[in-house]
């Protein structure tokens, strides 16, 4: 966004300024740089003048003159349901969405109907699925714990957490490191200051 050679406002900056969306760092430059200030205000005057130009009206009767030369198609039948639906909802995208929703609703309806008609089979199915899910989850958890216990750093971690004092020290050090990292990131992400912008101008 910043002109790399001068630090002055670019045409895009001017657009943002005219729309009131220029970032504060660039606003500071605008206030400090007489050239950019004069340019931006001259630009705003031009835009204001253009905005005040009136819309002009053609002579009366344009509509009639146009209609004499336009071929209007014969009125066509209008399906009753179309009266209830907004025409903008009849495009291909909305039709695809409507088809998807229709399929989902139909599927859900069939599922409910089948469930109501076969309560025993449904209960058996739910039970066997529940048992399978329980077995799968329990086996997975056991595998995860066994895997963690086999890691080379597990012994060191146990030592660090062997007493409440050591655990607190470890936690405190961790928080300190995390905060330092955040501060360093924030400094890296901050935009150049006013002093830098002025140095380029």
């Amino acid at each position: 966004m910043i002109d790399p050679t001068t630090g002055h406002l670019t045409p895009e900056d001017l657009d943002h300024w005219l729309e009131g969306t220029l970032p504060s760092v660039r606003l500071v430059h605008l206030e400090d740089c007489p050239d950019c200030f004069a340019l931006a205000h001259a630009e705003r005057r031009v835009v204001a003048w253009l905005g005040r130009l009136p819309l002009l009206a053609p002579s009366a009767g344009l509509s009639d003159r146009v209609m004499r030369a336009v071929t209007v198609p014969a009125p066509v039948a209008r399906a009753p349901w179309r009266v209830l639906v907004r025409p903008s909802l009849l495009g291909p995208r909305w039709r695809a969405v409507a088809a998807g929703v229709g399929l989902a609703v139909t599927g859900a309806g069939l599922s409910v109907a089948w469930s109501l008609g076969h309560p025993d089979q449904l209960a058996s199915l739910v039970s066997s699925l529940g048992n399978a899910a329980y077995r799968f989850g329990w086996t997975g958890l056991q595998a995860l714990v066994a895997n963690l216990a086999e890691q080379p750093w597990t012994g060191a971690a146990r030592t660090l957490l062997s007493s409440p004092a050591r655990a607190a020290l470890t936690l405190g050090t961790g928080i300190l490191l995390y905060a330092s990292g955040l501060l360093a990131m924030r400094r890296l992400m901050t935009a150049p200051t006013n002093g830098v912008a002025r140095a380029h101008s």
Binding site: L14, A42, V46, W49, A69, R78, S88, G91
Partner: protein, 201 residues
């Protein structure tokens, strides 16, 4: 079977177009009513001759309304009709190289009444005679400055700052890349700033 639904000011352009395609005479007239001033203003400021602008506006609407079937509702109707209006104006400029600034009436007007009738009315109503005179002078200076721009700059700046279209809509209307539209508008504003530097706020 029902008749085409009535179209009112609250209906979207797409809804009105849909009704027009279904054979509603009122929908065609509604489209003309909505766009006659924006389209006429754009064309007038492109060709700078009221009589010619009247003819070209009529031609634009006839072309657009007779080709409504080719309009794709996923795009804005305004972009589509401005594209036709701009192409019609550019074709005319290429054919006749209209360069006569006609703020004081059409060059083809033969009587004082015709001159008055074809003159561009600038300035706002409800101002004191002095303010009105000043506004009229400023308006004339701006119109004159716009007329000095290259046609492609002129259509971009008019669509952006007089008709209020977004950059993306202008790119769509004029079949130009977005970057080109931005460049044209910045250059046009730059030229206007120079032409109008002598004017007071």
């Amino acid at each position: 079977m029902t008749e085409p639904a009535p179209v009112g000011p609250a209906a979207s352009d797409q809804e009105v177009v849909l009704e027009a395609r279904r054979g509603s005479d009122a929908a065609y007239r509604e489209l003309v009513r909505r766009y006659e001033r924006p389209v006429f203003s754009l064309i007038f400021r492109m060709v700078r001759d009221r009589e010619l602008a009247e003819d070209l506006t009529q031609e634009t609407f006839i072309k657009a309304l007779n080709a409504l079937d080719s309009y794709r509702p996923e795009f804005k109707f305004s972009s589509w009709i401005f594209k036709i209006a701009n192409n019609t104006s550019i074709d005319q400029l290429r054919r006749r190289e209209v360069d006569t600034l006609s703020l004081d009436g059409s060059p083809s007007a033969e009587t004082p009444d015709a001159v008055e009738a074809t003159a561009l009315q600038v300035g706002s109503k409800g101002e004191s005679p002095l303010d009105e005179l000043e506004a009229r002078e400023v308006g004339k200076a701006i119109e004159a400055a716009i007329s000095k721009l290259r046609p492609e700059y002129r259509s971009c700046i008019l669509l952006r700052h007089v008709e209020g279209l977004a950059y993306e809509e202008i790119a769509e209307s004029l079949d130009l890349p977005l970057g080109t539209v931005k460049t044209y508008i910045h250059r046009a504003r730059n030229e206007l700033r120079q032409y109008l530097g002598h004017l007071k706020e």
